[in-house]
């Protein structure tokens, strides 16, 4: 059966709330500031928000419904997505269908987290049952240990050098330079990258995101409403998500993108060659490398050659993570996954806060998350266009 497209569904009002390494403010405060900024920039009255989709790790014991009361919103549609780095694509997916079906007219998709020095340890210890039973007792701290193992295996299998993955980190740092909201903006050379201390070998410090506090969000609505309200927007062309793909792979070498990409490009009516820039989920550079393969920019095992042949900076031949991504901006909890959509919509609406991609007509955005035990379970992607 052919999937219904997203004709008439748009994304608008991309907003980043400035990040802080640590904060004494709550997730509620960050999400409140985010929503207030969205309303201020769009000129929409709060009562116009009739759908609310929330992602946060540090909102407990509250949920999206509790936030409707906290924020004084009478929504007719809510969703709460505790799905880590995949939450943004999933939020976009659900909100788009709600808007398309008329269940809501304007859905605010918001994500935000606070960060205190012990928060990451606590959320890691209890992230999932399989993780609690089979990963955390082995010294795993966050996802570093699991991704270090995937990286070791990936590098070994395809003869990838540290410099190959380093190209991703170095290019993204260059992209972060002009972006005021990035926590890491100072220039980084390949030598700096290679000299950074080992964290979980083969991962270095600069292969890992810096956890921080912050919020990211956007609204999903119809083209008709966006135009009536005078909102710059990006059109949603295609979305895919896939969970627990390839469970029989002994160790993760590909994500669900490989399973869903044909459907994704068919829905958008294009091939990977049409993509002008990509906001690829970047908790670690190996995840970016795998996506280049899984999403069809090169064959499996060829990301190394692709990275050697392309310039990933904003003005380069294949711009990736154009405001520095999480690797340079910081990872504001669940908001980290929203940064890609927010940045893509900024590029497509000529409102970049850092450097603008010279030709930004079609952008690819991805999400990845839920490292429950030994692999990331959820992969998602969306194609947005002017």
């Amino acid at each position: 059966m052919r999937r219904l497209g997203y004709e008439g569904v748009v994304v608008a009002a991309p907003v980043s709330v400035p990040y802080a390494r640590f904060s004494t403010r709550t997730a509620h405060a960050f999400l409140g500031e985010l929503l207030r900024t969205i309303l201020a920039r769009t000129g929409l009255a709060k009562a116009r928000i009739d759908g609310l989709c929330v992602a946060s790790f540090s909102l407990a014991p509250d949920s999206a419904v509790a936030l409707t009361e906290h924020f004084g919103i009478s929504a007719r549609w809510v969703d709460h997505l505790p799905f880590g780095g995949a939450s943004a694509i999933l939020a976009l997916h659900r909100a788009a269908r709600a808007v398309q079906a008329g269940d809501a007219e304007i859905v605010a998709c918001i994500a935000g987290d606070t960060n205190d020095p012990d928060a990451f340890r606590r959320s890691t210890a209890a992230f999932s049952r399989f993780g609690q039973d089979a990963a955390y007792p082995y010294g795993a701290s966050g996802t570093n240990a699991t991704v270090a193992l995937l990286t070791d295996h990936y590098m070994r299998t395809y003869g990838v050098e540290a410099e190959d993955l380093g190209r991703i980190c170095v290019a993204q740092r260059a992209n972060a330079g002009p972006y005021p909201n990035a926590l890491l903006r100072s220039a980084m050379t390949m030598e700096d990258y290679l000299a950074s201390r080992p964290v979980a070998e083969p991962l270095r410090l600069f292969d890992c995101v810096m956890p921080c506090a912050g919020a990211e969000g956007f609204i999903v609505t119809t083209r008709e409403t966006a135009e009536r309200e005078g909102l710059p927007y990006a059109n949603l062309l295609a979305v895919m998500e896939r969970h627990n793909a390839y469970p029989d792979d002994p160790i993760q070498m590909r994500g669900g993108w490989a399973e869903g990409r044909d459907d994704l490009y068919a829905q958008a009516g294009m091939t990977p060659a049409a993509i002008d820039f990509a906001e690829l989920y970047d908790d670690y550079p190996v995840v970016v490398a795998m996506q280049l393969e899984d999403l069809g920019f090169c064959d499996k095992g060829e990301a190394k050659a692709f990275l050697r042949a392309h310039d990933l900076t904003t003005a380069g031949s294949f711009p990736v993570n154009t405001c520095g991504g999480q690797l340079s901006a910081g990872q504001a909890g669940a908001a980290g996954g929203f940064l890609g959509i927010v940045e893509a919509v900024r590029q497509l609406t000529d409102t970049a806060e850092g450097a603008a991609v010279p030709k930004a007509d079609i952008g690819l955005v991805t999400g990845f998350g839920m490292i429950n035990y030994d692999r990331g379970l959820t992969a998602g992607a969306a194609i947005l266009a002017r």
Binding site: D133, P137, G139, L149, E201, Y373
Partner: protein, 410 residues
Amino acid sequence: MSAPRRNPVLAPNRATIPPARRSRVATEMSAWAAAGVFALQTCGECEAVQYPPRDVCRNCLSPRLRWRPADGAGALLATTRLHYPYELYFRERAPWRTGIVRLAAGVSVTAFLHPDLGEAPAPAFVTARLDRAGQAALIALPDETANFEVTPMREFTASPKGRKILVTDAASPAGIAMVKAMCAAGAATVWAGRAEPWGVVPGYEEAIAHPAVTVLPLDVTDGDSVTSLAGRIGGRTDIVVNTATYHRPGRALGAMGVESARAEMETTYFGLLRLARAFGPALAARAAEGPNHAVAFVNLFSITALVASPAKATHSAAEAAAYAFAQGMRADMRASGLRVVNVFPGPVDEGWNQLDLPPKIAPDALARATVKALETGVEDVFPDPVARQWYARWRDDPAAFARELAEAGA
């Protein structure tokens, strides 16, 4: 050889333990590891092997998952070295090497790596050991015979090597064997407790002649004797091996009065209680002091602690009481990473079991099994065929097994 004294100006090193929280079903894996078995769930309907532990089969969704001894053979796919783990226990001992092993059974496991196991790809052998939280930890070895007397593998043992050990009753056949076995295993010091300094016990003089052995007075039925000895050596003891037991064959209705049964309780149960309260806190306080820190409290029980033998009804009662108390000890000692090792032999080949039919375990074999349990970090020890058979039947259906023994009258 005596360990350097701790600098009194520095804060004592408090014991930390790895994360102990597990799902209920994962705790079952730890129960198997406590008895020295690496077990995985296998589906009772489709035979699919499962990991991590789950509640329904990943293949056919059947709830009939059964624990079975697993084949540890597999292939090491990837390795890492963790330099900055969050948990204090790991951070204090960083870096840690871990890896992913694909078992021949078709599941991938995250495991600690033995230092002799190189980088991937390589063949590996996975075993389950108890970590210092008393939970199952999977460890990938180059082969089954890998040496655990190396960093950090020694964390998964309670090895007697280099440690100071109290054997509470060194004058019994089992006590003599235990003193000899601990010396042979490289104990730095063996304190041999002796309640009554008279009489000749065959083999005793030879056992205490070892240069590591010092005889000290200890009567576990006397509170003052226990606290006095704890005051003398409690702050230096790394392992307590409680061999003090008292038993006389006695059926439930077989004798008048309670004197013999009371004496059994006084030694076997109250003796353990006195020792635990006198030595336990000092052991816990020293559970992180240097490489040969305090590590274990060993109880020499009998398999009748699990299920009563009608021919030894009063003895079984005292054993059961002591075992019940030991379960409480285990809970209280867990926070400091101390192991409570319970040894459950069948009939031991010594005087008071003369009328038991063979097979009976020789005291030397019992002591060797105890040393091996300490060296492999096992907490529940069933050292002989009778014990293993009773244990298997007890695990299978304790109620039915108790009725079976009652009907057999033995």
